[in-house]
Amino acid sequence: MLVSRPGPGKSRSATLVPLAEAVADLVADGDSLALEGFTHLIPFAAGHEIVRQGRRDLELIRMTPDLLYDQMIGMGCASKLVFSYGGNPGVGSLHRFRDAIENGWPVPLEVEEHSHAGMANRYAAGAAGLPMAVMHGYAGTDLVGRTRVATVTCPFSGEELAAVPALRPDVAIVHAQEADRAGNVQLWGIPGVQKEAVLAADRSLVTVERVVEQLEPRPGGLVLPGWSIDAVCEAPAGSQPSYSLGVTERDNDFYRFWDELSRDRDRFRTWMDEHVLESVAAG
């Protein structure tokens, strides 16, 4: 199946809208959804808005589910998880993720797991409009037979390689430091797979720490043009308790606190009620 994407044009330029409105417009029950950000720039504010809007039956895609997907899974938003590392980095387990897989709480969770290299290549293939990626990987592991990986033979060298299917999420959501009023976005620091996720997805939303008059080039800065994005929303501190380099710091204490709090279903629900459901989206 070929999917063509429009180039720059009046019909397609990111609009600056409130987060609640953008999420309502772009995310529906049953969608496949990639909220990316590798330790850095994790779009917590957008994820929390999805929880508040009560979305269900989502296929959640993310290399490292982290606390954000732990929260969304624990709130019953997801029926499937596609991932490569489901831990609390440097701390230990993700307890809501484990409870869903081990005990089906609050709803059963289907999993499709890959290696980081596999996920990264799947996003890159999606961004390139290719049906699959070829790579060295998975060989000799029990992931073969448990996940979507196949062997292909290189037509030039005869070498056997792993093939993984492209990721094409319905919606990609990422967080960045800045956007200008035309919806052009710049992020810097650890870039993860955000660019690939946005370009692989059918629809995309970017939350930003601040809207500026003009983007100022940054060392290592990565720019996503407004015409490659559907919506841009201002969400200050929207990546906390992860961080936005140069703006906020990673709240390592919260990552440790979550390990203890999230072990208990009731304490988890109470915390989510107080800090997510009863709060209001920024913007």
Partner: protein
């Protein structure tokens, strides 16, 4: 100079032994926890030029403090350069540009294969572990792999519940037939001693015990028949310099 009041704990010695292995390495790929501490210690004490590579894409990071996650801000701020995840795996790890990789695991078998996916049956897991992360491709492609793990029967098992990462597969020749670039696991550093693959059989063998540890104690803590090297060494105790540097690093 501080006086080192307490002798090294077994955990501290484990970190120091891992750090010593990086004396001559050009670059090391590290996950969080003890491997990260060992690599930062190696830069402090043995090898100023050691390039620390974290999975988050930070290459040449020079953290002052031990990071909690592999993507803490200090890693990006002090790195020589920062790359995306696809670039990290496709340009830097895959082609074998990193000399040594430090990996941990919940289970290790006699061929140094690793499980970090699940304890129990895959479809009805007793314990769901985090999963593969970067480990399968890192272990296939980096020059060599050093495994850092606590020594117990829970960790060193006869049979893995899931093979997440290949060490020597089912024995000699497997890495070659799988097309792996790297040489594979060169050592397993535990809190009791050091295991190394036998050059002929690739089976992990006890090659060093830490001071005060008995061979029998190590065998009792291992879930498979653990052979002992004819040339069994006793690990050199932590020097004052190593221990002071480690304790100072941890206290930052």
């Amino acid at each position: 100079m501080n006086v080192v009041a307490e002798p090294a704990s077994t955990g501290e010695l484990q970190t120091i032994v891992a750090a010593r292995l990086l004396r001559d390495a050009g670059s090391v790929f590290i996950g969080v926890g003890r491997p990260s501490t060992a690599a930062i210690l190696a830069r402090m004490v043995f090898n100023r030029d050691l390039v620390l590579v974290y999975e988050s894409g930070t290459i040449g990071a020079k953290p002052f403090r031990i990071p909690l996650s592999i993507g803490d801000g200090e890693l990006a701020e002090t790195a020589d350069f920062v790359v995306s995840v696809p670039e990290m795996f496709n340009y830097w790890i895959g082609p074998g540009r990193i000399d040594v990789a430090f990996l941990g695991a919940a289970q290790v078998d006699r061929f140094a294969n690793l499980n970090s996916t699940v304890i129990g049956d895959y479809d009805r897991p007793m314990t769901r572990l985090p999963g593969a992360g970067g480990a399968p491709e890192i272990a296939a492609s980096c020059g060599e792999v050093v495994i850092v793990a606590p020594h117990s029967k829970r960790t060193f098992v006869e049979r893995l519940d899931f093979r997440t990462t290949v060490g020597y597969g089912d024995g000699p020749g497997d890495r070659h037939s799988l097309g792996f670039r790297g040489r594979g696991p060169s050592a397993v550093i535990t809190d009791l001693g050091v295991l190394e693959p036998d050059p002929e059989t690739c089976i992990l063998t006890l090659t060093a015990i830490h001071p005060g540890i008995e061979v029998e104690q190590v065998q009792d803590a291992t879930g498979f028949d653990l052979g002992v090297s004819d040339d069994l060494q006793v690990t050199e105790p932590a020097t004052d310099e190593e221990l002071e540097a480690l304790r100072e690093l941890v206290s930052r």
